[in-house]
């Protein structure tokens, strides 16, 4: 299944957030969307999954999602968006409840998702009892439980401290290497993008346009090797130069309120 974004633009009233985005998300890849804050990355992600209606252009699906996918376009949120009144298990089971599955199948799917994210022993804990990293694991487990065809991740690690971010990123990558779910990964962190993505789409400052689309040819599993590090460092510099200028201008911008 592929997602084709054709001429998408979006305005919030007078404010143009996105302009003329053409982009295809390919089956089985991680596409990172990177750009300065306020460039419309999250808006674009919202449009991709049908949570926001674009002011211009269309988003098309090419091909069918796998039959066992209960929710083909599934989000992982920056602020986790967990229900504080439900336990870990209850939060993960939430998206299954309206599908008319048997209790046994629901339990089996939930257990499976909890096990894959290392949450089995925390199933009866409430979100407030968990660290930020654990909460985002719950967010990921809740996304996996519906067997998504496309994972839409909105800065999933930015609410976490640097160490937790590193740990969770490695865990997520290990998970992804096993399942190869197509994913769009919004971030403002270049290292994250270079560690995870097959391709990096760089957006310009507002109104966000597609500035550059860079493929990273090194397989994710090999990126920590010394040989790969040099190439990635070079790529990092190259991309950083592109982003830096945009970020500098974006930072000094005053929003007309």
């Amino acid at each position: 299944m592929e997602l084709v974004i054709a001429g998408v633009g979006h305005r919030y009233g007078e404010l143009a957030a996105l302009e003329a985005i053409d982009l295809t998300v390919r089956e089985g890849e991680i596409l990172a969307l990177i750009g300065p804050s306020g460039c419309g990355k999250s808006t674009l992600l919202g449009i991709m999954g049908g949570i926001l209606r674009p002011s211009a252009g269309r988003v098309l699906v090419r091909g069918d999602p796998p039959g066992d996918s209960l929710n083909p376009f599934t989000y992982v949120f920056q602020d986790f968006a967990l229900l504080p009144w439900r336990t870990v298990e209850g939060n993960v089971a939430l998206p299954l409840e309206h599908h008319g599955l048997s209790a046994a199948e629901r339990a089996q799917r939930t257990n499976d998702a909890l096990a894959r994210t290392g949450l089995a022993e925390f199933r009866h804990a409430y979100p407030k009892q968990l660290s930020g990293g654990m909460r985002q694991r719950v967010g990921i487990a809740r996304a996996l439980v519906v067997r998504p065809a496309l994972l839409l991740m909105d800065e999933p690690l930015s609410a976490l401290d640097a160490q937790t971010r590193e740990l969770l990123m490695e865990d997520f990558l290990a998970l992804w290497l096993r399942e190869r779910v197509t994913a769009v990964y919004v971030t403002h962190n270049l290292s994250e993008a270079l560690r995870l993505a097959d391709r990096v789409a760089i957006l310009s400052r507002r109104p966000g346009r597609l500035r550059e689309l860079v493929a990273i040819d090194i397989p994710q599993a090999e990126r920590t090797s010394l040989a790969a590090q040099a190439g990635l460092a070079h790529l990092h510099d190259q991309l950083w130069r592109l982003i830096k200028e945009e970020a500098q201008v974006a930072e000094r911008e005053v929003v007309a309120a």
Binding site: F77, A81, H98, K128
Partner: protein, 270 residues
């Protein structure tokens, strides 16, 4: 600054501590002690004749009056009537208020209609409507119950739709992103998310109901704590009067304790 080792010959002194105070710690027993001391002082003042028992009867005589009322059954008659009125009025007002509040929290049209109506009607002291309600519903129970229900209704509406406004939108978006049907979003996300605000509203409406109960009973009732206090006052039976006031205090405390229990149960996740 150089990183030279400290000179032992230099005079040294401790850094003064400046961070104390402004922290409240629980002091168990202090409240009970102060309470007992106050009651004792009161009792002594009356016993020694510093205060006339007509104006302020001693605590022991209030307790004696309460005992007597309990023994001859008048206490239960008045309390029963009052409890029925407050329960019926509060329940009717709350159920209606929750319904309207939910509608105003969810639908733009109901909000547009309801908000100005609530703003216009909420500030009216509901006891001012009692004469009208008596004309409509008669002097019996319905007019008193309706006064309490009206007084409870508006704050419940306001508490409910503000509580729904405070449910984080990102949780609702999350529900939509998983294709949860609208009734599920209401039941699993909006309702539990609004519950803390709704329960806080119950606390306010419970005390409003108590105030209106007494006021309504003082205007036109044969029995009930309010009527009893008024009658005692007219006959200068101040010990009976204070016995009635004590009953009200106990009733208020009991309702508060009940709500605390319900909150603990329903909001364990907080």
């Amino acid at each position: 600054m150089s990183a030279a080792p400290p000179d032992a010959a230099m005079p040294s002194r401790e850094v003064a501590f400046r961070g104390g105070g402004f922290v409240l710690a629980p002091r168990r027993g202090v409240a009970a002690l102060a309470f007992v001391a106050l009651i004792a002082l009161w009792e002594i003042a009356v016993r020694f004749g510093w205060i006339s028992p007509i104006f302020l009867p001693s605590p022991s005589s209030v307790v004696a009056a309460l005992n007597e009322l309990a023994a001859n059954g008048t206490l239960w008659l008045h309390l029963g009537q009052s409890l029925f009125r407050i329960f019926a009025g509060w329940t009717i007002g709350t159920v209606a208020g929750l319904g309207v509040g939910f509608a105003m929290g969810i639908w733009s049209v109901s909000r547009a209609i309801g908000l100005p109506a609530v703003s216009a009607l909420f500030p009216i002291p509901k006891i001012a409507l009692l004469p009208l309600l008596i004309l409509w519903l008669g002097i019996g129970e319905p007019s008193k119950v309706a006064t309490i229900a009206l007084g409870v209704f508006f704050p419940t509406v306001i508490a409910t739709f503000s509580a729904i406004d405070n449910v984080p939108r990102n949780l609702i978006r999350m529900g939509q992103s998983f294709n949860l049907p609208a009734p599920s979003i209401l039941r699993k996300i909006v309702l539990p998310g609004a519950l803390p605000g709704m329960l806080a509203g119950f606390r306010i409406t419970a005390s409003i109901a108590l105030i209106l109960l007494v006021a309504a009973e003082m205007i036109g009732a044969e029995h009930g704590i309010g009527a009893f206090i008024l009658a005692a006052g007219n006959l200068m039976q101040t010990d009976q009067l204070l016995a009635g006031v004590t009953m009200l205090s106990v009733l208020g405390l009991a309702i508060g304790a009940m709500l605390t229990r319900i909150e603990r149960r329903l909001l364990r996740w907080r």
